[in-house]
C-alpha cells in the first residue's frame, strides 16, 4: 500500500483541505466541519406512530371518506344505463341467424332488429356504446400490431408500414401495403347500429346519432392524420395501398357522408384503435345530443335497435352489447368506488375507535413523552 499510500495521503490532504476551506484555514487540519448536516444533526421532525398521535388521522380519513363515498354512490345511482345484448347466441334471439351465417367477406349485410323498452326517460346527453366481452384487445401482439406513423399520416409509413403490422402489413396477393395496417385495424368493429323510437302512436322515428366527438380531441387532431396534402382528394392520397383484408371498404370510404370524418381520422376507427384495457369493454359509438327543449333526450318507451350484423364474436365466446348511458362527472355507472369509499371510511373510523381504546389503555406513558420537540 506504499507508493499509493502516500499518494492517498496527499490526496486526503487535498480533500480535507477543500472540505475545510471554510474553516480556520490551518493547512493540515483534518477536523471535520461542525455543521448540522455533516454531524447529522439537522433539525428533524420525528413522528412516532402511536395510537395517541395517529388517532386524528384515522378519524379525519373516516369523516372524509364516508361523505365522498356517499356522494359517489348517489351520483352513480343517478346515472341511467340501459344495455341490450344482441350477440345472438340463444336460438330465440333476433340476431341468431346473423350470428350463425357469418363470414368476413359476405357482401350482403345481415340485418337484425332488437326491440327494447326504456322505463325511464334519459335526460341530458345520452352516450351510445357498443360493448364487447371476452375480446382481448390487450393481447400483447395485438396491441403492438399497428403503425402509428402511418396513422399519423407519414407518407413513408403509408407505403412501407412497420414490421409490427405483420402479417397484416401487405396484401398477400397484390403486395400492396395495407392502410391502415396491423391486426387492430384489421379487426375493426364494423356492426352498424341504428336506433328508432317507436312513438306511442305507432310511428317510428329515427333517433339522431351524432358520430363525431366520440374520439379524444387530441387523437382526432394530432395523433391521427391522413397522409398527403389536403388538396388531393382522399382516394388519391391513399393510392397504392390496399384495404385491410377483413374490411369491406377501403379506409377512405369509411364515412362517405363526411369527408372530415374519413380516412385515418374517422372517429369510429380512432376509437377502435385506442385499445381497451380489459377483455370486457365498451367503446363509445354515438352521442345522442340533448334536445334544446326540455323534452328528455330519450323518452321512456319502446325502441328498436337495428343492427347491421357484421362482427363475429363466436370464435372467442364473446358477447356484443349496445349500451345507452348518461354520464356524470365521474363517468359511467359504477357503484364500486362509492361503496369502497364508504367501506374504507367506516373501517378507518372503526380503527379510530379501537385506537382510542388502546390509547386509553396503553398510551399513558407516551403522553408524558409527548412534549413537542
Amino acid at each position: 500500500m506504499m507508493a499509493s499510500s502516500y499518494n492517498a495521503k496527499e490526496e486526503d490532504g487535498h480533500h480535507s483541505g477543500s472540505s475545510t476551506h471554510g474553516g480556520t484555514g490551518a493547512p493540515k487540519n483534518k477536523k471535520p466541519d461542525n455543521t448540522a448536516f455533516k454531524q447529522q444533526r439537522l433539525p428533524a421532525w420525528q413522528p412516532i406512530l402511536t395510537a395517541g398521535t395517529v388517532l386524528p388521522a384515522f378519524f379525519v380519513i373516516g369523516l372524509m371518506f364516508i361523505p365522498i363515498g356517499i356522494g359517489l354512490y348517489v351520483t352513480s345511482n343517478n346515472i341511467k344505463e340501459y344495455e341490450v345484448d344482441y350477440t345472438g347466441v340463444e336460438p330465440n334471439s333476433p340476431c341468431y341467424d346473423c350470428a350463425n351465417n357469418f363470414t368476413w367477406n359476405s357482401t350482403t349485410p345481415c340485418v337484425c332488429t332488437v326491440t327494447f323498452t326504456l322505463t325511464q326517460p334519459f335526460e341530458s346527453n345520452v352516450y351510445m356504446y357498443y360493448g364487447l366481452s371476452n375480446f382481448y384487445q390487450n393481447h400483447r401482439r395485438y396491441v403492438k400490431s399497428r403503425d402509428d406513423s402511418q396513422l399519423n399520416g407519414v407518407q413513408s409509413s403509408l407505403t412501407n408500414p412497420s414490421k409490427e403490422c405483420e402479417p397484416y402489413r401487405t396484401n398477400p396477393e397484390t403486395k400492396q401495403p395495407i392502410a391502415p395496417c396491423g391486426a387492430i385495424a384489421n379487426s375493426l368493429f364494423n356492426d352498424t347500429l341504428e336506433l328508432y323510437y317507436s312513438q306511442p302512436d305507432g310511428n317510428t322515428s329515427k333517433v339522431t346519432l351524432v358520430k363525431t366527438g366520440i374520439a379524444w380531441y387530441t387523437d382526432k387532431h394530432v395523433k391521427f392524420r391522413n397522409p398527403g396534402n389536403d388538396k388531393d382528394n382522399l382516394t388519391e392520397r391513399f393510392k397504392g395501398t390496399a384495404k385491410p383484408v377483413n374490411w369491406l371498404k377501403p379506409v377512405y370510404e369509411l364515412d362517405p357522408s363526411d369527408s372530415e370524418n374519413n380516412g385515418f381520422i374517422n372517429e369510429d376507427f380512432i376509437v377502435w384503435m385506442r385499445t381497451a384495457a380489459l377483455p370486457t369493454f365498451r367503446k363509445l359509438y354515438r352521442i345522442i345530443q340533448k334536445k334544446p327543449d326540455s323534452t328528455p333526450t330519450l323518452a321512456s318507451g319502446k325502441y328498436v335497435l337495428k343492427i347491421t350484423y357484421n362482427y363475429p364474436v363466436r370464435s372467442f365466446d364473446g358477447r356484443k352489447r349496445m349500451i345507452l348511458s348518461t354520464i356524470s362527472w365521474m363517468g359511467g355507472k359504477n357503484p364500486f368506488l362509492g361503496i369502497a369509499y364508504i367501506t374504507v371510511g367506516s373501517i378507518c373510523f372503526f380503527l379510530g375507535v379501537v385506537l382510542l381504546i388502546i390509547h386509553h389503555k396503553y398510551d399513558t406513558r407516551s403522553n408524558s413523552a409527548d412534549i413537542p420537540n
Binding site: K9, Q40, P47, R146, A183, L278, V344
Partner: protein
Amino acid sequence: MTWRSPLALVRDALQGQRARERELRSLVSNLPYEGQEKGKQPNRFFLSNAIKTTKYSLLLFLPMNLYEQFHRLANLYFVGLAILNFIPVVNAFQPEVALIPICVIMFLTALKDGWEDFRRYQSDRKVNNTPCFVYSRREKQYVERRWKDVRVGDFVRVVSNEIVPADLLLLYSSDPNGVCHLETANLDGETNLKQRIVVSGLGAANLGFEPESFNSAVVCERPNSNLNHFKCFVEKPDKDKVGASIESLLLRGCTVRNTNHAVGFVVYAGHETKAMLNNNGSRYKRSKLERKLNVDVFFCLILLFAMCLIGAFGHYLWLESLPGVPSFLVPDSNGHLDVPSLESFYMFFTMIILLQILIPISLYVSIELVKVGQIFFITNDIDLYDEETDSRVQCRALNITEDLGQIEYVFSDKTGTLTENKMVFRRCSVMGTEYPHKENAIRLDVIDEPESEEEVIFNQHQQLPRSRWSLEAEGISPPDTQRHGRRRKSKVAANAHSDAAFSSPLETEVIPDQKLLQQISRAESSGGRRDGNRSFDPHLDFFLALAICNTVVVSAENAHRQRECTSPQSSQMRNPLETFSSLVKKAGAFFQRDKRNRTLSEDPVIDSAKTEDEADANRLRTCSLHAPSQNGSAIVEAEELCYEAESPDEAALVYAARAYGFILLARTPDSVTVRLPSGEDLVFEVLDTLTFDSNRKRMSVLVRHPVTKDYVLYTKGADYSIMELLGTPYAENFSGIEKNVAADTQYHLDCYAKEGLRTLCITKKVVSESTYQSWLGERKRAQAAMECREELIMQTAVQLETNLTLLGATGIEDRLQEKVPDTIVALREAGIHVWVLTGDKPETAVNIGYACRLLEEEDLVINMSCKNKVTCTAILDCTLEEVRRYRDDPRNAGTTQNISLVIDGNTLDMAKSPDLQERFVELTKHCRSVLCCRVTPLQKSAVVKLVREKLKVMTLAVGDGANDVNMIQAADVGIGISGQEGMQAVMASDFAISRFKHLKKLVLVHGHWCYTRLANMIIYFFYKNVAYVNLLFWYQFFCGFTATTMIDYWLMIFFNLFFTSTPPIMFGIFDKDVSVEVLQGVPELYRTGQGKGEYNFLTFWIAILDAFYQSLVCFFIPYLAYQDSDVDLFTFGTPLNTAALFTILLHLGIEIKSWTLVHWIIMLGSVALYFIVTLAYTATCVTCNPPSNPYWILQNQMADPMFYLIVTLCTVVALLPRYTFHVLKNSVAPSPLLQGRQLDRMDPSTRDQWIKEWRGFRGGAPAKRYELSDPPSPTLETPVDFFPEFLPDSNFMGDDLSLNVITESRQRAVHT
C-alpha cells in the same frame, strides 16, 4: 531505437523473465555503460522506476471495464435478459429500450471506475515526474531526472526532506557517522526517525563518495514485500563480501530527515520496491448483510420463476379455452399460429423479461451509493476526530459499515488499545529496595481525574476502580485550586506537544524519589566519581543502564524534524507552558543562578507555575547542587533534547534516568554519550546492540566503559526472561548488604504487576576481553550469513546474555486511555462480549481488567491456569458445570450473568485443542468478558477464528500494533488504532480510529445507524420492486397471460431509475431512528441489530407479503373502478402507476423515522419529478414510443376527478394495514428502539433523568448477588481419580491448578 530481430526480442524477454525470477540478483553500476544501447545495459532486465497503478488504459477502457463488470452475476443476468428480448418470439418490449436500464447502470459504474482510475493516473503521473538527482558519468555530477527515469544500478542522491524515489542501498551519508535518518510515516505511519547506516567497509566513504569508482557487485535477494527484512551483500572486486541488511536500505516513499544528503545505489525500482509490493489495493470484504441479501435475491429468483410458470401455464389454459381463432390472435408473418404448448413455452421467457425487475437491478448500485454516504458521515463525525493526532476515523474497507451494527464479540488488544501506550515511569526497585516515587504518583493521579463533572451521569460508580490508582495519594492532598491549575496546564501542554512522538509531558516529567536521590548522591560522593573503578555503585549502574540500554534516538527539540510546516515546532518553542520537568529543572537552576532568575521572571506564566512547584524544586536542589555552575548553559541544552524511541517504554526509562541526572546526550551507532549527575559527560563505545525480539523478550547493549575500559553488557527485559539468566548476585560484592536481591526484586515485581504496572528487569554483566573477542568472531560470521541469519544472530545474543547480575526493576505505568471503562461498560451493556487479549502477565492483566471495568467487583471471575491438559479438561468440565448450575438456579432467574474468565496463553492453547474447544466455547458463551493473558499474536487470531466459526457470531477485533494484525484480519471487522506503534494494524484494518473511546460511538451509534439504515433500505428495495412488478403480474390475468404492460415502458424504466430510486438511497444515508445521545446513553438499543437483526427471514417475507397485498390493492381498485368502461390500455395504467408511486413513497414515509429538510426535498421532489417528467413526456410523445403513444393521457387523467379518487383510495387502502400495524405495535408492545425514540423527544434534562432512573432500575434488579453454594476449588482436587493413567506422579497436585472465584473481597494490590 535500432531494429532487432524478433527472435532476439523473445530471447531477451525470456532472459529478463529468468533474471527477475532468480533467487539472487547481481547488480552492477550503470555508469560504465552510460549512453550505450539498451541491449548492452547490464540491468536492463529489471523493472524501471515508473509506476502504473491504473487498471485501465485509454484505449482498452471499454472492453476491460465491461469485462470487470460482467464479473458481477447480476449484470450478466440483466444483460442476458436484454439479449433475450432481441429474440422475436419471446420479446416483451422493444429490445432497444429494454437495454436502457442495464446500460444506465453499467454506464454509471463505468463512470465511477473511470474517474477513480483517472485519479490514480494523475497521481501516478505526479509521482513519476517527481524530480530526483541521479549521477551521470558524462556530466560528472548528479543531474536532475524524473523518478520514472531512475533505473536499477543508478546512483541517486537524496537530500534532507526529500522522498526516496526507489529502494536504495545506502552507500554514503553526509553524516560523519555514516547515518541517514529516515521517516517512514509514508510507509507504516511511524513518525519516529529511523537510522539507516552506510554499508560498511566500502572504502573511505567519509571523504565523499565517487560513484564512478564503485566497481563492486551488489547481490540482493528477489524483491519481496517484507518491510523489515532485506538481505544483500556487496561483492568487491577482490571477492570480499560485505553484508548489508534492512539497516542500510532506504525504502521508496520514506522521507530523509536530519541528513544533509545521502547517496544510494538503486537495488529495486518501480513496482519491485518494497513499498509497491506492499501496495495491494483496498480490501474487499463481504458483509453479513450482503451475504443474507444474496440469499434473498435467490428467493426472489424462485418467486420470479414461479410467477413466470404461472404466466406460461395460464397462457396455455387461456389459449386452450378459446373456441376458435379470434381476430385478436395475431399469427406470425406467414399467417401461422403456433400450438398453445409452444406458445406458452415462449411465454415463459417473455414473462421473465416482463417481470425481471423483481430482481432489483439497481439494488447493488444503490447499496454502494448508500455506503459511500454512510462512510462520508462516519469520517466526518467530529466526535471521532482526534485533535491530538489530527486524524479522523478512516474507513478502509468500504463495504462493511453495516457489520459494525451487528457485533457480538469484541476482541481487544490491551497495550496501546485500552491503554495509552504512553509509558510513565512509576516506581523502581534497585538492589532489592523499593522506591515508590510518591510525588510522581500524586502528579499522575491529578491528571487522572475525570475531566469534568458532567462526564457521564449514569456511570458514577466508575470512580470506584479508579480510586485504586490514587491510593498512594492518601494523606497528601494538595489544595484543590492547584490541582485544577496543573491539570489544565498539562492538558494544554499535551496538545502543544502532540507533534513530537513520546515527548508529552506525562513521560518526560518524573519527580525523583527523594530517598533514591540521596542514595545516588551518596554513592556519587563516596566513590563512583573519584575511584572510577569496579566498585561503581549499583544505583549509578542502574541508571546508566536505563540511559544506555535502549535504541532511543536523541534529537534536539527545536531542530529534531525540519518539516515544511514549522508552526507546531515554533509554538512548542515559544510555548510558555513548558514541560513540567523542565520547569522543575529551571526552578532548580533559578535557585542557583541569578541570571536565570531574571529570564524566568519575564515570563509570567512560568513564574506562576514556578511558585506552585516551589516545593518540588526545593527538593530537587539536592541533586542540582552537584551541577557545577559553569554547566548552567549545558542544562538548558539538555532540556531541549528530545528522545524518540521505537518503544515507548524505552523513552520512559530514558526520561526517568534524566530526572535523576543521567542524561542521554547523544547516540550514534558506535557511541552513547551520557551526562552524569556530576556534570561529567561519559562517552561509551557501543560495541553491539542485541535488539529486542519477542522470543528472547529482552534486549542488550554491549558497551565499553570509558573509564574502566570494561566490556559491560546491560540487559533489560521481561522478568521471567531475565530471572532465569541471573548469575551471582551482585550483592555479594557488597560486604554490608546481605540480602537476596533477586527474591526481593521478584516480590516487588509481583507487587508492580498487581498494580497494573509493566515491569522490566535491569541487569548488568561485565564481559571479559577474551570472551568478547571470541564472541565477536561468531557474531560477525552470523551477520554475514546469507542463510538463516536471524537465527544465528539470535543464537549469538543468547550466548552472551548469561550470568547476568540483577540491578533492579522498574515499574512503568501504561495509563488507561480516557473513557476506556465507560466504553467497555457501554459495549457490555450493548450485549457485546468483550475479550481482552494481552501478552501481559495475568496479574497485570487482571488489574487492568478491573481498572477498565472489564471485570467488575461483583463479578464471578473464573481464573483458568493449568499446565497440562488433564487439569485443563477437569477445570473446564467443572466450571461448565458450575456455570450451568448458576444459570439454572431459580434464584438467579432474571438476573444477568456476571461471569468473567481469565485464562492464560498455555491454558488457552489446550482449551483450543479440538477435543476441548466445544466445551471451551460453551463456557465462554456464558462469560460476559474474557481476559486472555500471555497470548501470542497467532493465538489471538486463533481465538478470534475459533469464536467466529464455532459460535457463528459477528466479531470485531481492535488493536494497534503489528502483533494484532493477525487478529484484525481474522475478525469480521478489524479496527486499527493509529497509536504509538505504527500503522501495521491500521493497514490491515477495515476501520482506523485514534482512540479506543471512539469505538463506542463508532459501534453503538454509527454501527447501529448504518445497519438499521441499510437493512431497512434493502427490505424496502425488495418490497418496492415486488410491489411494482406485481402490478404487471396481476394484469396478466386480464390479458390472457400475454405479457402485456399497461404502463408505458419508458415510464416503467423511469419509475425505477428516477422516481423511486433516490428516496431509498436517502433513507439509507440519512435516516436516524434514534439520536446519538440515546444510543450512547442506552447501549442496550444496540442489541436490536445483533444476531438476526432487523433484516431477517421474517422481515423480508413480511415485506414481500405486504408488497403482494399493496400491489393487489393498487391493481384491483382501479380494475373494479374501470370495469366494463371504455378505458383504454394506457389510460388504465396511469392511475395504477400513480397510485403505485404514492404507495411506494408513502410506504417509505411510514418507515422514515426522522424527517429532515433533505427528506422533504427528496420525497416531494420525487413526486414532482414524476408529474413533471410524465406530463412532459405525454405532452410531447405523439408517436415516439409505439404502441403506447401516451400522448395527452396523463393530462386527460388529471382533468378527471376519478383519477384522484382512485389514487387516493388505493394509497389509503394499500398503506392502511402497515400503518395500523405500526401504530398498534408501537402502542401495545413498543420495541426498545421506539422507547429510545420516545426518550429522544424529551428535553435533554428530562431525558437524562429518565435514562438514569431506567438504568438505576435495571441495574438494581440483578442485585441479588450470586452466593456460591460451595466453593469449587476444594472439590476440584477430587477428580484425580478420574484420570489415574494420566497421572505419572504427584505433580498433578502441585500443578498450579487454580480455579478461584474472586469476589469483591479480591485482594488489593499491596502498596508499600
